[in-house]
Symmetry: C2
Subunit: 405 residues, 2 copies
């Protein structure tokens, strides 16, 4: 399966990838685009021709929007139809002449937040990460809380501060623990600003309040995935999080990729979970390979400082979704839920600076970094096996730290 | 200041109240309405006359919408202009003839969720409630966590499951603690389903990510208030909430009133806080009376079982807002934040069944209730002093429990 688009087959954005985003050029209205090689295909413009395989005119309206939400709301059959149509249009040379004028070089495109985030939930699905954090935050207790192996722990984050890759992140200020003299809490810019390398899951098909979504319906509701950086201020978080969980330590910014990769592009990346013991309750049971083999790189100022393996995650996305809705909580188009920090067994596979520097005690990398400095730029990269035998790239997530105001 | 609307002056919805909601009748499109006596005034229809004091035509477009969000986005000057105009239109008999046809009896109106909720944050601002819960949930530790008197503790809830008063609430299912034999967690319908009587604050004016909102700008950003019932499954919550906070124990449903009461209607209800010791950090300092004297009633199947006093709350809404944004988290039009359970010093002033029954050990009320039974109906009522010397009512919040599926 070859594409006629120059360079596409030799890139990480070939016909087996085709992620969706929202782009604009030169002050035009933002609209849906599909990444192919080093180009963005103006999806609604191409679909509006009509007469294409796969109900192109129907999709054109959904793609002529400043967010993916209208397309996400169409549901699984439309997503599959769209993908077949894209493969035909970008793979069959007969469509080249009239499609090529609607390919915009990605370097000339402005990429926007790809969807309007409805609710944002962050999970905590890496056994290695939870163990590391537990050892650091609760040194006198068990590393894992008693519930950890029974349910995918999660909490709601702030949907309104989810930003697209490339958005600068202002260092947050806030309260930290008082000193040991019993004085007032510390206040000022965070001194332990961190990242969390995660994978986000984008919900398309809504559900009804009062009902739950079984694990087997995962692919009916979830459209695709996007790498995510859950920026975290550890000093703010450590002081505030008991008893109601993280709040201001997380809510200042969460970055996602401009590209949402459809689940179909990850078919060859599906792998079994590492193993769950004890066996989860029946509503959390999954059949077949419920995990994904996605290789992450954390790049700090140009240096790869960690390589977290998504395949090591304990809880699967279908389990997160089933848990999220088991109490009858409804889904909306645009809901985003994330995996929590991805950390592997090895030190150089840890997904946060907190873990890489072991709470700030073990500087890492070329510059001996513990937590983020002003001006630091972090890029998350992720690739996975593609269905054509090579690899595909998930969209990068980049962000630079601005000094506190 | 009298209204020409029959019965309005003798009701709790006189000219000094004028809450906003969204209504429809007989399959018409939902649009903004203003409550006056036992009527809903079709706001856009009246404003569309033009020539009224106060820029009526400008407001007409914002009110001809299925949610309050467009009006909320106009900001404080427009909110004040609108209120002056409403007082003129509903107070000056010269407007009666052409306005009366646009008064719909509230009994004939369907009331909708009044605004699209952007992000929902729930605080924990009652010292009495936090102390009661701490004693029950953490009997071996201090009732209050060390941070409680230094910051208004809060966490994000699920915006997508906020429903309007009158919506039935399905009993949630989920995991509870394992028995003492170390077996698997319990699973099934919640057996400790509860309410929390709260006050919600509705944000109109957004803020910019990376900046914070000082306490003094509270009334520039917050449009008004709505009573809120934070339905809670205590058995689910108790098992899940360590370490990342409440999640499924809360996310199945949160009910709000159909009416949003403008801050101006609460001018006569402003009271000093009970007192804060230690003095909060400077970013949490407030001038003048930062609390509200609002009297709640919790009505269970027709019986008043508690009378929580909002005036007893430790942290003020201006402090919640300043804290919520001190890290640079932005506000959006439609953001909702709530006070947390309102509990007074006395047993009959507690704002949750958990406290009223002291963890299920002390049945209360006519039926000896501990937690909610299927078929129970709970109504929250709230009144406050009005600026005309009488009292005003905040909208009721009602909900009935349906059995688990």
């Amino acid at each position: 399966m070859k594409s006629w688009v120059p360079g596409a087959d030799d890139s990480l954005f070939g016909l087996d990838n085709l992620p969706y985003g929202v782009f604009s050029r030169d002050g035009e209205e933002p609209r849906v685009g599909v990444r192919i090689g080093d180009f963005v295909m103006d999806a609604s413009a191409v679909a509006a021709y009509g007469g294409d395989p796969g109900d192109g005119p129907h999709l054109a309206a959904a793609w002529d929007q400043p967010s993916l939400n209208a397309f996400l709301a169409l549901g699984r059959p439309a997503w599959d139809t769209a993908r077949e149509w894209l493969v035909e249009v970008l793979g069959n040379e007969v469509h080249a002449e009239r499609t090529a004028p609607h390919l915009v070089p990605v370097a000339e495109a402005t990429l926007h937040l790809p969807f309007v985030v409805a609710d944002y939930v962050d999970f905590y699905c890496s056994l290695q990460h939870a163990t590391n954090v537990g050892r650091m935050f609760r040194p006198d207790g068990d590393a894992l809380t008693p519930n950890w192996q029974h349910l995918p722990i999660g909490y709601h984050g702030r949907a309104g501060t989810v930003v697209v890759s490339g958005t600068d992140v202002r260092r947050p200020s806030g309260q930290g623990r008082p000193g040991s003299d019993g004085g007032p809490p510390a206040f000022g810019p965070s001194r332990r600003l961190d990242i969390e390398a995660e994978l986000g899951f984008v919900v398309g098909t809504p559900s009804t309040q009062g009902t739950s979504v079984p694990t087997g319906a995962y692919a009916d509701h979830v459209f695709g995935v996007t790498p995510l950086n859950d920026w975290s201020a550890r000093d703010i978080q450590a002081w505030e999080y008991v008893p109601l969980g993280p709040f201001l330590g997380k809510s200042f910014a969460t970055s996602i990729s401009p590209w949402v990769t459809p689940l179909a592009a990850l078919d060859a990346a599906r792998v079994p979970l590492p193993g769950q013991d004890p066996e989860p309750l029946p509503y959390l049971a999954v059949d077949g390979p419920a995990g994904y083999d996605i290789a992450y790189e954390i790049v700090l100022n140009g240096e790869v400082v960690s390589r977290p393996p998504y395949a090591a995650m304990y809880w699967s996305p279908a389990q997160m979704l089933a848990h999220l809705t088991v109490n009858g909580a409804s889904l909306r188009t645009g809901d985003l839920y994330a995996s929590g920090t991805i950390s592997g067994d090895e030190r150089e596979q840890r997904g946060s600076f907190l873990e890489l520097s072991w709470g700030g005690t073990e500087p890492f990398g070329r510059d001996g970094r513990t937590f983020l400095e002003d001006g630091d730029e972090v890029v998350l990269r992720a690739t996975a096996p593609g269905v054509l035998g090579g690899r595909i790239a998930l969209g990068e997530v980049a962000g630079k730290i601005l000094p506190a105001l």
